[in-house]
Amino acid sequence: MNKTAKGKQWQIGMLLLPGLLVFGVFTAYPLIKLFIMSFFKWDFGSMLEQQFIGVQNYKEVISDPYFRISFVNTLVYTLVTVPAQMALGLLVALCINSITHLKVSFRVLYYLPVITSWVIASLVFKYIFNTEGMLNYILFHVLHLTDHNIRWLDSRWGGLGVAMLLGTWKGIGWNMVVFLAALQTVPTELYEVSGIDGAGAVKKFFHVTIPCIRGTILFALVMLTIGGFNVFTSIKMITGGEPGHQTDTILTWMYYKAFSTGKFGYSAALSFIVAVCLAILAAVQFRLMKNREEG
């Protein structure tokens, strides 16, 4: 018995090995390295001799006005896109859930933006929101809502606005599918019971549907918050941080500092701050989720 148990341990080890190896080398090691790098002067100038400088990099990040801009931008992006995606996704899911015809077709078509890659979607949005683009033509020359072409891409909130619109557009499908699945778990008897009470559709939604899919809402909240902080490609492609780094997000700013100016130590410190912030945020959200489920 002991012998077979030992053999089993061995086999488990063998199965775990490739995963642990890949994970260890390509994720865990860089994470540790990131932490170490953040305490060193590590840039193009000091390529060979890295120097321990304590929390200097962190001080530099915290006192950097551009970091603050990018942080606020990321925060705003997340605070806008997450609720917007969830609300619209849930709305579409509710509609699809209530129809009898064409359910599958709508589900497929609404999901299309999700599978469109970020690079392509960003370029399409950039093309539409060009100062000389289709949208301005319609607003100005067709509908006469403005008397000039609006510079959507050329201001901080304009550029971010387009990125936020893109993020929302791309996220509706995911939310729809997730909420559709959740809606299926709501017991129909509950609706019937509340129907007898004479509750209207709105009341039913808030008193029956929402409490039943609470778990899914929190799950989506956690996933989308992480996604919001991950925003990179759309900003890079649409505004490139212009004008004057006003539309940079945390990750585009980090990338710029590392790969355009060679300040690897600074970027490591910045990355570490972001990682810790997100870990705390997610932990809080998970805790919230657990408490709600128990309560």
Binding site: F129, N130, E132, G133, L153, S155, E242, P243, G244
Partner: protein, 437 residues
Amino acid sequence: MKRGKKILVIIMAAVIGLAALTACKKSPVISETGQTTKESAETKKAEQKTVTINFWHHYSAQSAENATLEKVLIPKFEEENPGIKVNPVSHEWADLHEKILISAKSNTLPDVARLDSAWIPEFHKMGILVPLDEEMSDFSSVADGLLESAMATANIGGHAYGLALNTNTKILFYNAEAFRKAGLDAPKTMEDFVNAIKALSGTNENGQTVWGYNEPALAGWNLCPFIWSFGGELTNPEQTKASGYINSDKTVAAIQTLADLYKAGAITGWNSGDIPMTDGFGTGRYMMLLEGPWKIAELAGAYPDLEYATVDMPAGDGGSHSVLGGEDISMFNSANKEAAWKFMQFMTSEYAQTEMAKCGQIPVNKKALENDTVKKADFAPFLEAIKNAKSRPTVASWSEIDNELSVAVTAVMNGEKTAKEAMDELAVKVDALLAAE
């Protein structure tokens, strides 16, 4: 239902398996040698070792220059030099600078690159460029065939860190038809220029906005002609100090003039949402541009019916000074030096320079300059303007200074700061960068 599912799984597995198989077969070939199987087969036939040299450049991917490079020059070079293959890689201008910095760190530099001459001091300081005069025995015979003034851009401390590849400067392109209709003459002075910009901006018959002038970015390459022609400077002549120069009244006046024009809706171009320069000029939305010789070939290709003319950079208090451009072809110290040197010689040869001249690259090869094809190309106004053109500061931190300048002027354009405030702040930053040289 169940069977359908099963079939689907089988198909999926088959596709993945098949693809994985091809992956196993193909990836080593592609990823390790960087050559196709066909090429290596040919090599075996030739029974000699093929050397591949990587050549990075910033001819844009869809340009006539890139087509000439890939379809005319490189095939010709490879034919003349069996055993050497050239792998050209096109990067966008700013990306190329970035990629070289990163590659220097990772020891993955190409063998040869076409570099903006403004980058040479920076890369020299990093110690990645080969001093050609020391390493190549026949250097002087090659260098003698090229223009001395252009070769000077690659010279640091008496050593040559590249061969001049092409030279250029910018002159004013204007929409001749629009000028005629407005009864305007080509602007000679800064005052005429500003007035023409204002007069020509407005809306066209479709109700679309028309801008008097386009400037595609706010970097040194774009701002310097104005700063210098206004009589301003970026640094002192020794290039050690910016305070008192980059924030001098005249430099500030140049920036303020551009900002006022932007505010009046008369100039644009550097914003993400703007029409690209060539398209805007070709479709009559931009009335003037300051551009280099390549624009002539580009316009002839894309907008052959456009009626335009050129004139020198308008003169201000400081005279008429455009910015000296040009590229050098340099070798990195990790290069296959023998093959790289051959390719560099080829690119600066009369043949290659004449071919490139057809796409608007002004040759620096003396023989090519005497060539009939080159003489027919409309380089005369540019060659004239080069005489008064000035170089951007030749310091190692130029890229950083350039970036700071761009950020500062963007803030002025967007009305966040006055030109005086922004340039005062900038002067402190640039002083620090210059002090660290």
